[in-house]
Structure formats: C-alpha cells, structure tokens
Symmetry: C2
Subunit: 142 residues, 2 copies
Amino acid sequence: MYFCYMLSKKTKYGIKALTYLARQKDKTPVAIATISESENISLKFLESILLTLRKNGLLGSKKGKGGGYYLLKESNEIQMTTVMRILEGPIAMVPCVSLNFYEKCDDCPDENVCAVNKLMVQVRDSSLKIFKNTTLADLCNC
Amino acid sequence: MYFCYMLSKKTKYGIKALTYLARQKDKTPVAIATISESENISLKFLESILLTLRKNGLLGSKKGKGGGYYLLKESNEIQMTTVMRILEGPIAMVPCVSLNFYEKCDDCPDENVCAVNKLMVQVRDSSLKIFKNTTLADLCNC
DNA sequence: TTAAACCCTATAGATTTAGTAGATTATTAA
DNA sequence: TTAATAATCTACTAAATCTATAGGGTTTAA
C-alpha cells in the first residue's frame, strides 16, 4: 500500500533534527553526526537538509572544530508553517488552492464550480490552522 | 516550485468524474468519452480510474452500445473518505499515523515522543473530519 | 456491425533518497 | 607559525519508485 500524498523523509528528518536542536539547553553548535546518530538519519542526507534550513534562516552554523548547527530563534517562535513551507513546499495539495503559490489548473474552466477546489480549500485551511498554531516548542517535549 | 504532498491527478480526475455522474438526473450510463471531453481528462487515464472506482464498489458499468458508468449509490451517501482511500490511498501522511494502514517507522524508537507523529496525528484528524463530513452531493452544486 | 467497456503492456519523465568525492573553513596543538 | 584535525559546504551520480499517459487487442450488448 502506497501513501500517496505522503510526507517526504526530508521533512520528517528535518522536523526531527529541529526538535533535537530545540531540546538543547544552550545554543552551542551541535555536529551533524551527533544528530544523525541520535535520530537514525543518513548523515549526508541530513547534511543537505540542515543546509536548506540554514539557507532559509532557521538555523545558524559554525564551521571547523566544535562547529555545527544551532537554532537562530527560540523554539516557541518557530511556527510549523515556516518549517513545512521550507522543507515540503506549499501547504495546499493542489496549486489552484495555494495561497502563496497559486496556479490555475489548465483543465478546469471555473474554479468556483470545481469540486476538487471546493474540497481542498477546506483541507488547506484546517492544515494551515494546525501548522500555524503549533511551534517547535509544542513538539519537543520540554 | 513543487507541491510535495500533492494530490495526484488520478484522484483529482476521479473526483471530477464522480461529480459529473452525480449531476446526472437519472442513473443511465454515461460513456467514458463523454466525461473525458466534458472534463478535459485524458481518455485512457480516465478509463483506468473509472475501472478502479467500479472495482471498489462505487460505480456500476454497462458494456456495449449505450453503455457507460453510473453511480451505485445516491451522491449524498458517498463520503469523501471512501473516495480518497480508493483513489489516493491512506488519509494519513505518515504510515505511523494511519488508522487503517498503520506501520511502525524503523528509525523511530518511541512514537509517543516523536514530534512528527505528534504533528501528523492532528493533521490526519482534521483532514479525516472534513472527508467524513463531505459527500459527493456537497461538492456537485446541485 | 458498431460502440462501448475491459484488460494488458510499455514508457518517458519526474521525484525521492540517498551515496561518493572532494573543497573550504575554523579550531587546536605542536 | 604551522600542521593536523574536524567540521561545514558543494557537486555529481544513481537507483528506485511513481505518475500520467499511450497503444492495441478482447469482450459484450444494442
């Protein structure tokens, strides 16, 4: 059985890594290898994930000995909408329903009559609400 | 920009075809080609979609001249949970969160502490609620 | 005889999930 | 000051899987 609109491992691992960093007491850098071992994530894959999180302003990094990654904000200031948009892309399941990345369907003459649009608008709104009201702090058990 | 946990065209087309059939006054069979032209869906693709909907008990079919597909139930009796599960697969975005197709993640030692699990349970519940409370009739503007 | 569903196979292209190899940078120890 | 070390960063490659069709032939009923 295939899970069709499935969460990618990229996002899954990214969230796990972020919560790992959120559980740290201070903001001293944590090496990729440390997170990789603790969370059972392929090192090189995690490397690329943390890089995109850094490039999108969620993480800071320090090179060289004693280096690693650290959160740039407090964990209760990081909404899951931000995380999801960076790692997974738009929240909407159809482009014609996306707030930030709207695209018209070429097969659909009128969105206001489209059943798919009507249904997915609701799904988008409810998911968005959850992602907005949940922060990293809510997820990291601390 | 890629939509990562995107709705497949299979599901999209399937929902459109179902609402097309729901809008018919009587239950006389409608040919695939008719739906295909009206909804701008590739004929052969639609063929396979309608076939799976029939095999899963949503549609009836009639072969030969004047044949086609028709709804087996009233449109207000067809929940979108059923449609989504047939076309798209499990509602959950992660196997470890699925009600009907649960699978443990091999990387995750304890689901009760897992941030991804915690978040996705909420998303599953809210999506499920929408799909359960929406029927074909709600979507077909009639 | 014709029009329709049915069934099987193949496939280009995209995406995901990595793996491999090496470059660059910063710290630390000699 | 220099060399070693440890870390991030960059770029290429590749297997596996999934999507969205296309083609062609068979069966059934009017």
